[in-house]
């Protein structure tokens, strides 16, 4: 199969997974927790890599996901002890990221993990990093990792759609309904960590944040219904992946960077032209209501 196909497939899987989770992050006003998690998984990746010596262990996925959850837990703990929420996010993720960078730089000889690669990812190489089972080439490993992450997300969201929806919009009511809100909170955070780990090699730690937040925000400007928001978010992510890939090809530049850039431009278009919440329609509405006020 051609390399274009695999790269676009990886990008689409990544943006679909991020797009779904991002909607819930935006609705729960936790956009920056996603930022924190995607940085905080770095020491987990480094430690697991150091211990197991390979990149494709399940242990790495689990270890790093656990570290993401630890970060969420620590942030929550600091918040409960009276520190502002954004400051506690800032303290925890920078500390964990610093530990990760130190582990990687001290073991630079033993770890075949390039810092640049961790931050920006190198999606262009996905098709050479294949997964072999029983001696048969099963295709790129990233596709498998992101595919299974997406499958888990879809499964959990389908099973507990109502619970996630109520806890996103009205946590107090969710508690009153007997929904274990904390459990769903950590479930969501666990999924975000898992997705960050699965996609860090292809798009890097910082650009995962972009794919978590930007398409979901675009969708948030386009609709008021959660189901449609999820759909639009995934769609925007996939469209930015495809356009971003070809833009990167033309410019001879990083694919991950150009995907996020395209996503940002799509957000800008929605910001101005959205038929529901765009700047233009707001102006028009304002003018019209002014007009009627004068006419009356």
């Amino acid at each position: 199969m051609s390399s274009d196909f695999w790269i676009i497939l990886t990008a689409c899987l990544m943006s679909a997974a991020c797009g779904l989770l991002g909607c819930f992050l935006i609705l729960r006003k936790m956009a920056l927790i996603g930022d924190a998690i995607s940085h905080a998984v770095l020491p987990g990746i480094a430690i697991a890599f150091l211990l197991s010596g390979t990149r494709d262990s399940l242990a790495m996925m689990i270890g790093a996901t656990a570290l993401g959850l630890l970060a969420v837990f620590l942030i929550q703990w600091l918040q409960n002890s009276g520190i502002q929420s954004d400051a506690s996010i800032g303290i925890i993720f920078t500390a964990l990221f610093a530990i990760g960078v130190i582990i990687i730089s001290l073991n630079a000889r033993n770890i075949d993990l390039d810092l640049d690669c961790v931050l920006f990812g190198e999606i262009a190489y996905v098709q050479w990093d294949t997964w072999t089972a029983n001696g048969i080439d099963m295709g790129p490993r990233s596709v498998w990792m992101l595919g299974s992450a997406l499958l888990i997300i879809l499964l959990l969201l389908a099973l507990f759609y109502k619970q996630f929806k109520i806890s996103a919009f009205d946590p107090a009511m969710a508690v009153a309904c007997g929904i274990p809100v904390m459990l769903f909170h950590y479930l969501l955070m666990g999924m975000v960590s898992m997705t960050s780990v699965a996609s860090f090699e292809s798009v890097g730690a910082i650009l995962v944040v972009g794919m978590l937040i930007i398409p979901a925000s675009t969708a948030y400007l386009l609709t008021d219904r959660l189901g449609r928001m999820l759909m639009y978010s995934v769609l925007t992510g996939v469209v930015s992946s495809i356009i971003g890939y070809y833009t990167a090809y033309v410019l001879n530049a990083s694919i991950a960077g150009s995907i996020v850039t395209v996503a940002g431009i799509l957000f800008g278009i929605a910001f101005v032209f959205s038929p529901k919440h765009g700047v233009l329609i707001r102006r028009l509405r304002q003018r019209r209501s002014q007009g009627t006020a004068i006419a009356e």
């Binding site: 006003k29 002890s81 800032g90 920006f120 990167a248 996020v260 940002g264």
Partner: protein
Amino acid sequence: MWNTIGALILDPNVRWIIVGCMLLGLSSGVIGSFMVLRKQSLIGDALAHAALPGICIAFMLSGVKSTGGFFIGALVAGVLATFGIRWITQYSRIKQDAAMGIILSFFFGVGVLLLTHIQHSGDGGQSGLDKYLFGQAASMMQSDVYVLAGISLLMIVICVALFRLFKLISFDPGFAKGMGLPVAFLEQLLLLLTVIIVVAGIQAVGVVLMSALLITPAIAARFWTDRLHIMVMVSGIFGALSGLIGTLWSGMVSQLPTGPVTVLAATVFFAISALCAPRRGWLAKLWSRKQTKDQWQRQGGISHE
């Protein structure tokens, strides 16, 4: 160990770097206190990421790596980013945290796009441009330290001169407005100072970790006092000490980057403060709870009559 530290301090090159990092820690601690009190801690993170495209465009326009050019590019990008965040929150229903995330990752995405475009186009002068991402204090030269020292001094002078005004807009912007102060202008000025210090610090500690220097010392200082001028001073001292420890330690161990060690030192200051600070610290709270309990029991405890 003390011998190596002594040797490091005597080395004139290292001494410059130490001075630079300490000044950086000092001034970001001072500015950070105001940002933390104004509940805008993470704006530093957004600004640091936003600087990348500015640096790249400055390089593309000038074709050389000059600290001055990068500084101006990053400054312009940072100011644009603050406007972007404000527009998004003002003209749509997107909240501030999401707006910050959007601007941060979009600017960074554009930056990565430009950076890789420059790298792939094979211009020999671009090597080392990516050093700006992780920060390499060891690459600071004497002229860089002069620039950093000048900026830090300017910051501190402005903060001292406008201390009362900054204090007012940090605690009660509504009242400040009522008094007829130019609140919007002062807020923009504070933001501009943050942009300047972030841009100056990127070279030493890197894009990702710059925000820690703004947040962590300030929150650590908050544990020790309720008075703003003491908090600002303590925060500055914590920042400067973190810079000192970071530089010394990374100088002693090979391959240890300066930025992360500085950040970890700041985190240790935070942990110590959160544990041991009088009154607000964790231990002090435990102690006072125990005292209250004992007193209650001495008085006879709960009676079940």
